[in-house]
Symmetry: D3
Amino acid sequence: MAKMLLPIFFIFSFLFSSSNALDFCVADLTAPQGPAGYSCKKPEVVTTDDFVFSGLATAGNISNLIKAAVTPAFDAQFPGVNGLGISMARLDFAVGGVVPMHTHPGASEILVIIKGTISAGFVSSANKVYFKTLKTGDIMVFPKGLLHFQINAGQTQALAYVSFSSPSPGLQILDFALFGNDLPSDIIEETTFLDDAQVKKLKGVLGGTG
Amino acid sequence: MAKMLLPIFFIFSFLFSSSNALDFCVADLTAPQGPAGYSCKKPEVVTTDDFVFSGLATAGNISNLIKAAVTPAFDAQFPGVNGLGISMARLDFAVGGVVPMHTHPGASEILVIIKGTISAGFVSSANKVYFKTLKTGDIMVFPKGLLHFQINAGQTQALAYVSFSSPSPGLQILDFALFGNDLPSDIIEETTFLDDAQVKKLKGVLGGTG
Amino acid sequence: MAKMLLPIFFIFSFLFSSSNALDFCVADLTAPQGPAGYSCKKPEVVTTDDFVFSGLATAGNISNLIKAAVTPAFDAQFPGVNGLGISMARLDFAVGGVVPMHTHPGASEILVIIKGTISAGFVSSANKVYFKTLKTGDIMVFPKGLLHFQINAGQTQALAYVSFSSPSPGLQILDFALFGNDLPSDIIEETTFLDDAQVKKLKGVLGGTG
Amino acid sequence: MAKMLLPIFFIFSFLFSSSNALDFCVADLTAPQGPAGYSCKKPEVVTTDDFVFSGLATAGNISNLIKAAVTPAFDAQFPGVNGLGISMARLDFAVGGVVPMHTHPGASEILVIIKGTISAGFVSSANKVYFKTLKTGDIMVFPKGLLHFQINAGQTQALAYVSFSSPSPGLQILDFALFGNDLPSDIIEETTFLDDAQVKKLKGVLGGTG
Amino acid sequence: MAKMLLPIFFIFSFLFSSSNALDFCVADLTAPQGPAGYSCKKPEVVTTDDFVFSGLATAGNISNLIKAAVTPAFDAQFPGVNGLGISMARLDFAVGGVVPMHTHPGASEILVIIKGTISAGFVSSANKVYFKTLKTGDIMVFPKGLLHFQINAGQTQALAYVSFSSPSPGLQILDFALFGNDLPSDIIEETTFLDDAQVKKLKGVLGGTG
Amino acid sequence: MAKMLLPIFFIFSFLFSSSNALDFCVADLTAPQGPAGYSCKKPEVVTTDDFVFSGLATAGNISNLIKAAVTPAFDAQFPGVNGLGISMARLDFAVGGVVPMHTHPGASEILVIIKGTISAGFVSSANKVYFKTLKTGDIMVFPKGLLHFQINAGQTQALAYVSFSSPSPGLQILDFALFGNDLPSDIIEETTFLDDAQVKKLKGVLGGTG
């Protein structure tokens, strides 16, 4: 019977080699990038390892002032997610750790608490605060493009994973956007109503000039 | 000959009444809203006036502390844009006027200077500043979700129109998001590194509590 | 100074009440649903709890034959994700547990291993198998619509969280689709080449008729 | 063994009832419509007949001046396609039949010739003509929104089916848009450079006023 | 008068050469491919023949065990559909012919019966079967990503055309995905509950290893 | 304190260099183009000037027969809008100026009147005319793909800016599509019902052949 069925294989086989293009599009980080993402690696050189990433298996370095670390698995780190509408990151918190106020310009985020207790919140366009202390196992969703933050609210280290509705969500951290570049102090002051002393203090800390 | 051609009309006429649904979808602001926008008014009650809006024809009130006014023509004000992927707003500036640091979580923006001289800028996820003083007639594009601002850089009133790549771009003004609601001061300080005095001063000004 | 700045609030306040529509669209599960998702709850009744879900905090019941449980946080369970392009689920595995061969017709999936060792794989349109044993902390992505599975490959319970690129990814489990409904046995046999005895055995097990 | 496997069913059964929402969204033509399409019928009242349409099985009436008929299976006629990104229509041609110059504002079109010989063409934004006489079995694609037409080029009746990349492609027939409504003649003449006599002649034929 | 109107041409001519880019994007199969499809051929080398395909005009070879053939006109075969959101395929059936259980991970499908009688069905995420015998001229829609099949239900050859809501719908045939590659037999058995003898029998037939 | 905070910078700095890819995608007009737009310039060579365009600051040449000019700022002219879902154009009108009947196959349009009085209208798929005379400051929206036009209705020059819901909206001017290329006269006459003399007259004027 095997002999009789074999022609099936040949009938469909050309479909198999030609139609798989957009099952996935593992990023070729060296080729041109367009508005929809990176160019695809040739399917014939794609292996299982392109779809697996171990870079989130170890904690980021939290021996810093925010006592926290964000480790991304976006398309630039994990090329297998290119074109698939999803990506991840790992959040590690020491006691007192904080992921500062930030936005992802291109994606919504969903967070699951693996260890510890985290206070998280976002602010809507309508200027309303959605803020809660989350326990292990809780999940929370942060709508696309809105300011949000996460704080270790417990007395132990905390760990969370976050997923994004894009392989390239972007990350704009408020303090770096304001104080970590050459945006002139007077422009910052005019557009944020912050005092000059406050601006200069944080510029000093974050390496800003101007 | 007219008599002979008339049957064309009847052949196609049922198409005409049935297929126009998604040419447009003028918002019925009283009906359920979904992720793609408002429900549509019945096509038979839609008139030309649904596609025209005069609310941007007069200057906003710039007798305020920022010496500027933003007048929106989003779907909530101009229901004709619902579902069409576009909307507008008018920016008026007195001398010294400023549209403070803000984002649109759901849209890119394109600005055209009608009168005056405006300094405008945005900051990328990579923390780089794109900032320029624009003359009358210049246009500038602000990518979706990024912090940006506009400042009257001249010695006269200024006027600009901005368009958005969504009928519902949203608007998150940084100072209101931080200081104009009940987000607790200690949370603001932890997540922005601002000093307590600075936070409390701006909360006082902008009506924030907590 | 507070008195002077107060007019800012009034200038922008109408924006704040009108432009927040599509920041988020928490599902009103009782209202009409459309191709883009559920209708939105009125923003004024939305609270923080709409964006937080605790249903994944406890393990699913794994005292069953597959020795595994899938607990979803899709829009129907977690209305806050409606319209946001993302959702989650929790996978619990006893020793020997298996999430059987299935697809999500509407989403890509990303999986992170929290505890244990899981063998996971998918098959592409080109009929190629991408299969690997993953350790704690590894992540793997499964492209939209392709057959895939997860198996506890270790000697302990295992736990994973999966996220999806849609609030409503769907879930089609192969065995239920084939053997758990009234699809006639002869049709199944003709379209899958399975033997009649095999089909009837699994129909018996899974409650299929016809 | 059947007894042992039965728990699988209960583990997954709540998924089955909750997660099927966006597999499909059969249009409820009486409920609110939004930018993404019609509201969905409740899944429990959907039957196979919602996904089958027999309205294209019989030829349209070609005893008219264009000697052709277009029979649509858009969402308004075939509610099962709502939300699925696809629809169809049937084209019947007598000898000499013509589907006049038209656009589909919301979809690309693909045509397959079932009987006869059809000359078909479209014009690009770059003003270039793509025009060819097609034989039975040939297919041709017409990009979204561009002017196109089909003409029976043979000496027998012709039949074609067309599919669209939207359940609601729209159909704007040039002559009806110009001459079959109350668009004033002087406006038509100014915006098309057509002579007054030509405009009035076609208005007479197509029932236009103004 | 012709002389007077000529300047119109020059005013608009630069638009014509610059703005046609995304009218269409005929695939350059040799250039990089991205998540949205293939790179475009330069517009100046595109001809009408890029939009016409004759590969569906002749029946596929049905002298095989499934007594059926699927002939695709996806982007890889018909580059003109790239970027246009649509594609086609031809289905030929001998008496007794079957297109086996399969999914298209990236598209909905619409089918029209040209000759004969075809029984077609799909299974939803909710595990419900939508199954019907279709006559010539009937059309049926199959929602994206769901398992479906078509069977010649008559005593003559049958012919159908299917269209897809993507230029690259993908095609995953269940038996090839399970039995036509190196997916280990024990993994198949664990994830499908099929018996070892059944798995090995079909692996033998379809060329599977492992 | 600056010294203590500095480690923040290093923790996040690799994010900043890797995750900015899709904040924006300034077109590299010399690299491959795909269905979603042009390839991106490398972020490190992008400057503020890529996001600013001065080509709309001066009036187009209106000394022509239509007494009007359309000056585009689409992706081909203004590469900064590539991938951002928005673009603009400037419309200048002498007294009596007309932007003739046309469509944008790929975008909705929103128009703001800066100077003068403009009569503007569009025709829906349902063959209904939406037509109004607009004053300075009025805005009007034109749904995607529908025939529309603008006419200077006043006794002075007029100026308007239009924005589009795509960086590459396309522009199909009816008269050029019909009479400005090699579309054979008999085909035009069959598909538009225009008289032969009318067709030949306009072909003569607009440089058409055939």
